[in-house]
Symmetry: C2
Subunit: 207 residues, 2 copies
DNA sequence: GTCTATACATTGATAGAC
DNA sequence: GTCTATCAATGTATAGAC
């Protein structure tokens, strides 16, 4: 935090109202839904009037579009970081688990923004969907490549099922896993990958 | 179909508009969302005016409540049937697979009604949620019992994770699996259970 | 059981003062 | 950058004719 000027930010709610609007809206969209949340409700959450939102965003749709972009950026950055951490002699399971952990970390680290992709996305207006779909496709393609290289014995159709199932499990954790109360995301990722790799017998039974 | 009177139903769209409203609304809620679908749009889908809906249902919320109840009935009936089909000498994996198949069959057999529980439920008005939560809790409890009896080596917290993960996968199939184009739900259930039981190595590799 | 007509609230968004 | 005031559109729902 380099305070270059004398008028350094005094309040904890520093900076632009823009970011505060984004965060409040993302939270409300996640909990109540997009159509269910009015611009007045968003404004109320940040102690403003609805009209002020339109100084920062062209429309409610534009606000949602940016929220979705932030969510995709979070998981994409996490994927990049996990990829960079690759070690030459690691096993496929180790590499997969690092990526699963990275995805879960990004999911819960920016929950309101990433959850929008899981719960709100199916119902977003068509214009918003097309604005996000490229980023989403790119992220899915990276996972397809990852899984294909980790499990080369699977054909493309099997890779697809594994990828979509894995996403189904990982994204569902947003609804039922609480990192603060239940333990680390790394343990959860380990449980997922070891089950996917070796089955429940390994997890519940022997080693 | 006992046609007791001479004025038997001639058209394929027989009977009450009530059922037609339910099915059109369920379909629209699944695709567009609840708040995003107006009563006018529902009426248009069944060639009526919005006011006519209120002859059959007290409110839009009441219509959604009944859709959710139908969805829960479908999966509950399927669970009952799968339980009745239990054979004395079957393995845990066989019993589990029958239940997974039953759940998937019910999911896709009444897709609009069951999908409402997955995609729409998080955002339904509080009054609608409380009306459905009992049925949902009961269904979850049955799965908890089932998994606990099949895998007694798991502690309750592990059973919870397995149950919620399994639901995460199964419910996600509504988004990406097409029984008409991709093959039987029984094969999909088999892939899920064998992976859960023995890991990916079994599915993709050897036997 | 479906219609027309309408009441009434809420919505996304804009204009213009400060 | 936030406000007040306001508009036009759309929402759920009701009343009453047919």
């Amino acid at each position: 935090m380099t305070s270059s000027t004398a008028t350094a930010a005094p309040s904890p709610e520093v900076g632009d109202g823009r970011r505060r609007i984004l965060e409040a809206a993302a939270e409300l969209f996640q909990v109540r839904g997009y159509a269910e949340t009015s611009t007045r409700t968003i404004a109320e959450a940040v102690d403003m009037r609805a009209a002020s939102i339109y100084h920062h965003f062209d429309s409610k749709d534009a606000l949602l579009t940016e929220i979705l972009a932030i969510g995709m950026q979070a998981v994409t950055d996490a994927f990049d970081a996990a990829e960079l951490a690759t070690e030459p002699d690691e096993t496929g399971a180790q590499r997969l688990q690092r990526h699963v952990t990275a995805h879960l970390d990004a999911l819960f680290g920016h929950k309101a923004f990433t959850a929008a992709h899981v719960t709100v996305f199916p119902f977003v207006p068509a214009a918003v969907r097309v604005a996000s779909v490229e980023d989403r496709d790119r992220y899915e393609a990276r996972w397809t490549d990852l899984l294909g290289s980790i499990a080369p014995e699977l054909d493309p159709s099997q890779v697809r099922v594994v990828r979509l199932s894995l996403f189904g499990v990982m994204n569902s954790t947003l609804d039922w896993f609480d990192p603060a109360a239940e333990g680390s995301l790394d343990e959860l990722a380990n449980a997922f990958v070891s089950t996917l790799w070796s089955g429940l017998g390994t997890v519940g039974g022997g080693n």
